[in-house]
């Protein structure tokens, strides 16, 4: 084809990655990944977001080394309680005379855990419901979408509260509750995406090869819905953390003395005005992490979402 020639050509490993004729599956995949990575890195905010998320992961892994104090055992109530940020206590101390910095550091583990768990529960449910409904259509679609609507019509926090109330408090149950309330939008997205895909020629082509419905859905439809879903899930991360915090705020999230950020903010709200650091520090952590995820999600959208990338 008579394409307009490019004036500069990549070289070295870049050339290998960008090779129009990869020699193996691996090279092909890496090449794709590299392309995505490049368009991703073009967005400085997105890179910042990624940095935050990576930092979160690192902090979670190395919490033991980073945190100077125990996250649960506090100091002397009479002398070390509610101290403002200082050189000894970077983020100050809380009402139980615990070092807030250490708690924030350890809290990253819980936050990460919550995020990962919600993503692992909610995404597949939404994906499956949405793709099956969209692909099969007819009454299956009607029934599944009605169920989705019911869940969507539920007041979210209420549903979560109810579930937590039913299952008993604790971070795992809070996570399940959040997951149960967050899949419906994913199902909707997946369905919409599926509807645009299901009549396309390449689906017709696999049908013509005699592929079974599950095979088509799992092998062909799902991968295409996945990208817009991943984007949406990353964008929702902030919401998830904040819902967990909201549950914590209502006393139904993590069990004390777990250093869950939401619960910490909830405790801190009693000291919001004078001992501002008690709520502000974990609040800041929530903010930074959800901002990070949001920026990352935004960046990912440009990379993964074929419609947004233009």
């Amino acid at each position: 084809m008579a394409g307009a020639p490019s004036l500069s050509q990549p070289s070295g490993w870049r050339a290998w990655l960008l090779s129009p004729e990869p020699g193996s599956r691996w090279q092909a995949r890496l090449g794709r990944f590299y392309l995505g990575w490049r368009s991703f890195t073009r967005n400085p905010l997105a890179v910042m977001g990624l940095g935050v998320v990576v930092l979160l992961i690192l902090v979670a892994i190395f919490a033991d080394f980073i945190a100077p104090y125990s996250p649960v055992i506090g100091g002397d109530l009479r002398t070390q309680r509610l101290l403002p940020p200082s050189e000894t206590y970077w983020f100050g101390t809380d009402d139980q005379a615990r070092d807030i910095f250490s708690r924030v550091i350890y809290g990253s583990r819980i936050t990460l855990w919550v995020i990962v768990l919600v993503a692992l529960i909610a995404t597949p449910i939404g994906l499956l419901v949405g793709t099956v409904a969209g692909y099969l259509g007819g009454w299956v679609d009607t029934v599944l979408m009605r169920i989705t609507d019911i869940f969507l019509a539920f007041p979210r926090l209420i549903l979560a509260l109810a579930f937590v109330a039913a299952l008993g408090p604790g971070i795992e149950n809070a996570v399940i509750a959040i997951a149960i309330t967050s899949w419906p939008p994913y199902a909707r997205i997946a369905r919409a995406e599926t509807l645009t895909i299901r009549n396309s020629d390449f689906i017709a082509a696999v049908k013509l090869q005699g592929a079974s419905t599950p095979r088509i859905i799992l092998g062909h439809v799902v991968p295409l819905c996945l990208s817009s879903l991943i984007v949406r899930v990353t964008l929702d991360m902030a919401g998830i953390i904040l819902t967990a915090a909201g549950l914590g705020f209502l006393g139904l999230g993590a069990q004390p003395p777990m250093p869950e950020w939401g619960a910490m903010v909830a405790t801190g709200r009693n000291y919001l005005i004078d001992q501002w650091w008690v709520a502000a520090m974990p609040g800041l952590a929530i903010f930074v992490v959800s901002l990070g995820f949001n920026l990352l999600g935004d960046g990912l959208r440009d990379v993964l979402d074929p419609k947004a990338a233009k």
Binding site: M1, A2, G3, A4, P5, S6, L7, S8, Q9, P10, R38, R42
Partner: protein, 278 residues
């Protein structure tokens, strides 16, 4: 032809991308009077970018350079946005390939034509309305009144394309750039569209740039043809002499088409010579 309507000299369109700079149009020069000029070439050869550069509609990362780009004595490169806007749609128009996508789906066809008219002519709504109807009639729409109130999705491709033409010609421009105006249409329909365009050129003395990848069509419809390859004009010739083209690319293009006239098996294919792109 005393003074050419459009003069293009060494037109270049560049896109600066992270991957490097892509030069989509590389030194295209031509002149156009009140005639039909065809631009042919394969996909990606820069036909559309040439057309868009003339209208100043090169998409954002693009950059347009030229030694000379004048329309009726107006330098299009240095013209203010305002001048460009009055030229666009007023004196230079463009018909695009696919009516399905180039008509605003949420406005009626009539509204869109009126809008185009009122953008350039101070006219009352009623006048504009009449004018739009007249225009729809001029493009041989059978029931202009009805079509006027229809939304783009409610008309067939052929009707949509005619509506598009009506919209672009309502201001009676001096120059029309038609970017593959018929490639989305049936053969029989596209003949009618061409006939309408043809009428405008011959009756109103409009200049026409007809962009297409269909050599056969261009040769039968236009006066002159530019053949583009990789952003360059490789050959410029009279349409009727297309069969005697000298450039191997043009020759190849002509030959590799199956025709009803002769039955060649296998079809000759085009062997691209890297030197063409230089």
């Amino acid at each position: 032809m005393t003074k050419p309507l459009l003069e293009v000299e060494d037109l270049r369109v560049r896109f600066h991308l992270r991957t490097g700079t892509v030069e989509a149009v590389r030194g295209v020069s031509f002149q156009l009077g009140r005639e039909r000029l065809g631009i042919v070439g394969e996909s990606g050869s820069g036909k559309s970018q040439t057309g868009r550069a003339i209208l100043g509609l090169t998409p954002p990362p693009g950059e347009v350079l030229a030694k000379r780009l004048t329309f009726d004595g107006i330098d299009l490169l240095t013209a203010s946005k305002r001048t460009l806007r009055t030229l666009r749609g007023g004196r230079i128009s463009m018909v695009m390939q696919d009516p399905k996508y180039s008509l605003n789906p949420v406005m009626t066809i009539g509204e869109q034509i009126i809008e185009a008219y009122q953008a350039h002519v101070k006219a009352s709504r009623a006048e504009a309305h009449d004018r739009a109807l007249a225009m729809l009639e001029a493009v041989k729409m059978r029931d202009p009144g009805r079509v006027f109130a229809l939304y783009p999705h409610e008309v067939s491709g052929g009707m949509g394309q005619r509506a598009m033409i009506a919209m672009m010609l309502v201001t009676e421009p001096d120059l029309l750039i038609a970017d593959e105006p018929t490639s989305a249409l049936d053969v029989t329909v596209s003949m009618e569209i061409l006939r309408i365009l043809d009428e405008f050129v011959s009756e109103r003395g409009m200049g026409l740039i007809f962009i297409s990848h269909d050599l056969k069509l261009v040769s039968s419809f236009c006066n002159r043809v530019l053949v583009m390859y990789a952003g360059r004009v490789v050959e410029e010739l009279e349409a009727k002499h297309l069969r005697e083209a000298k450039h191997p690319y043009t020759q190849g293009l002509m030959r590799c088409l199956p025709t009803l006239a002769d039955d060649v098996h296998p079809l000759p294919t085009l062997n691209r010579d890297p030197s063409w792109a230089l």
